[in-house]
Symmetry: C2
Subunit: 428 residues, 2 copies
């Protein structure tokens, strides 16, 4: 078959944009042979022409992103500039001009997803965003297409590579949080201001997008309860390991059939060593989808980086190109308003490390607090540490509200010198 | 939106067929709300009406599969009867009648895939087969769509749950092959005649389908070199573990850029304990796709069973229904004739266990054979066993032809009492 030419306008030429342009050039003839689509990089909008003139032709380069989304010779737009407001405006413009859009912009989709999906549906063209969640891992397409009929119960994901790298170093090498973070920064996995990663904000944006697709409702980043990993110590991880668990920062979204409520949260959690997430190491990402019929599925790979992200964008670009020429497009349907489950209504088993004074009566005082809040203890361990002692409690299933009340009261006890990072146990 | 009714004709009502019919009934209204497609089970062809009359309405049941594929009130056909010749005829008939087909028939796709794909393309409708490879795992769709532009180097898969269960029991419990097989049979993971699983034939059919899609060429089951797990002992697995490896039966397909040749094979292999396939336990399946841009991706889940397989079929049915109403269809394009790499041209590192007489000069005699065939030894270990000794050799990278010649000569040595199962090392 003769290949149909599709001219791509790329907005942004940073790590991901440049990797995408390279990949298209390298793969264009193979793609034309297999898919019948001849991809051409028609325009690339950059901030500074001089910085890119060695890698891109002069007639391709522009500093005017508006020009790219309005250019009638551009068939399809790839948005890899990042940021929210300007990107939103450009994408809406491209869609209203009849150009399908492929974006890697997680923050944008996690904030204005529903508006953008509706604009694409109205225009009858594609807005695809595989690259916005977990970089190179094909996850959004399987969720929105392969699992469209699957009754999904829960999605659990290691969706932030930086924190998984830090936790891996702390677990395998016994590194402190500070040293592991420094090592992540040295390798380029963490930014100099690591807040968005280590406080779980990046993960929150991703799990909100996943929840929206898994449960067909409009969850935004701001709906997600988030706790980061800054309170987790190497000692906590070592104790969890001894009890047969791995510590992971997880994005979790669950559907409660009885109430119809959706819980969406990010927090440190522990999974059994035999759970498939336990062996996901270093900066890799992995997402487990628990379906009623499918059972547990896991999607694993590189969640960031120029080449993996470009690979996801390219898959979407080919799909959107084929759809454009067929007059077809993918749709998520109408996303309903979610009934969000407040964090205080969730329940699970908990692992709580405490540092306490090493004197008679301490265990009695501490366990009294658990008892008053009806939090039942499944196991307790004690270690000597210098002048004090470390106590670790593993509870039976308990409500979050009760557990938080228990922690507040523990903090007030004279004999408790430090309350460690709370770890929620992921049930199988 | 008003839902469009799609009437499904199901051929076969065994474990998978019955699970699919149940899942459609359970999910139909949710699917209609989210996808705009109202699925109806219109016909189910069975062998014996009496055996199914309690679970299906009389006007749905028929013993005439031809009637189902010719019935003008049937919009789409699901083939879950199995077998090759009759299923092929029925699918071709359904396609020529303009009915999209979803099939779980691995043996059929691995034999007549190219013919059936071409028939679907000619009819301009879908032939989808997610369920034919690794049951409930979304793998075919990500491969054919998300990774359409990705330069794939290699695909490695644990694609047979029975053998992975057996190897897990041998590895974790030290069970013998015979005991582990008996346990698999008791749990219903293995058939009373386990040949197709333990000799790698089931895996060969699956990896041939994967190779066809990954590399866009027509590989059939008969093209695949296969070795099973019957020669592997618990002692071999224990030694591999001591050296930092897990033993897995893998389907492997690789593209050699230099020669343009595709290698497709099934054999016991060892992977580093940190490789994501190493922690895939029991009857789970997992497939690792190594792409140049994407890096390593893994797709993990249940490779068999009624409900997981039905889940994959349902995803395909919804997709084919939407496409049918749009007049669109998915295509693999034209599959080229593959240039197959003969097994003897492959190369890797090898782990070879030998049982030898425990007397002076044995090691000298044995290593002499390796030397004569230019197979260089990276490590050797010795264990006493009763009257003899067990030697284990780990080689440097060597050609398959040289390694096989080496093994033939070792078998002829008086001092070698037994040559164990050859394990090929998977490079990272």
């Amino acid at each position: 078959m003769a290949a149909i030419q599709v001219r791509i306008g790329v907005i942004g030429h940073g790590t991901v944009g440049a990797a995408f342009v390279r990949l298209v050039k390298q793969q264009a003839s193979a793609i034309a042979a297999r898919s019948g689509v001849q991809l051409v990089i028609a325009r690339v909008a950059v901030r500074n022409i001089d910085a890119h003139k060695n890698s891109l032709a002069a007639d391709v380069l522009t500093t005017d992103a508006e020009f790219v989304v309005n250019d009638p010779t551009v068939d399809l737009v790839v948005e890899v500039m990042g940021g929210i407001d300007q990107a939103r405006g450009l994408i809406l413009k491209a869609l209203s001009n009849g150009k399908p859009v492929v974006t890697a912009n997680k923050a944008l989709i996690a904030t204005h997803g529903a508006e953008l999906f509706a604009a694409a549906d109205n225009a009858g063209i594609d807005l695809l965003f595989e690259a916005a969640v977990c970089g190179g891992i094909p996850l959004i397409r399987p969720l929105r297409e392969s699992l469209r009929g699957e009754p999904i119960r829960r999605v659990l994901g290691i969706v932030n590579g930086t924190t998984n790298y830090i936790l891996t170093k702390m677990s395998e090498d016994g590194a402190s949080y500070e040293d592991a973070l420094a090592s992540a920064q040295q390798l380029g996995y963490a930014e100099s201001d690591p807040t968005a990663d280590v406080e779980g904000l990046d993960a929150a944006a991703k799990i909100s997008i996943i929840a929206s697709i898994a449960f067909g409702c409009n969850v935004v980043a701001g709906d997600v309860y988030s706790e980061g990993i800054t309170k987790i110590t190497a000692a906590d991880i070592a104790i969890a390991k001894r009890l047969g668990y791995a510590v992971k920062l997880l994005g979790v979204t669950e559907f409660d059939k009885a109430s119809g409520a959706v819980s969406v949260r990010v927090h440190p959690a522990i999974v059994s060593m035999q759970h498939p997430l336990a062996s996901v190491r270093e900066a890799f990402n992995a997402v487990v989808v628990d379906g009623e019929a499918s059972g547990s599925l896991m999607f694993y790979g590189r969640g960031a980086g120029g080449d993996p992200t470009a690979s996801s964008i390219l898959g979407d670009v080919i799909d959107a190109s084929i759809n454009l020429n067929k007059g077809a497009h993918a749709t998520l349907g109408v996303l309903s308003a979610p009934k969000l489950q407040p964090m205080s209504d969730t329940s699970c088993e908990y692992l709580l490390p405490l540092e306490v004074a090493d004197k008679p009566g301490v265990l009695h005082a501490v366990t009294g607090v658990f008892a008053r809040h009806n939090v039942s203890i499944r196991a307790a361990e004690q270690d000597g540490i210098g002048h004090g002692a470390r106590l670790v409690f593993l509870t039976h299933n308990a409500g979050e509200a009760a557990m938080q009340a228990c922690i507040s009261e523990l903090k007030k006890l004279d004999v408790v010198t430090h309350v460690g990072g709370l770890l929620r146990v992921i049930a199988d």
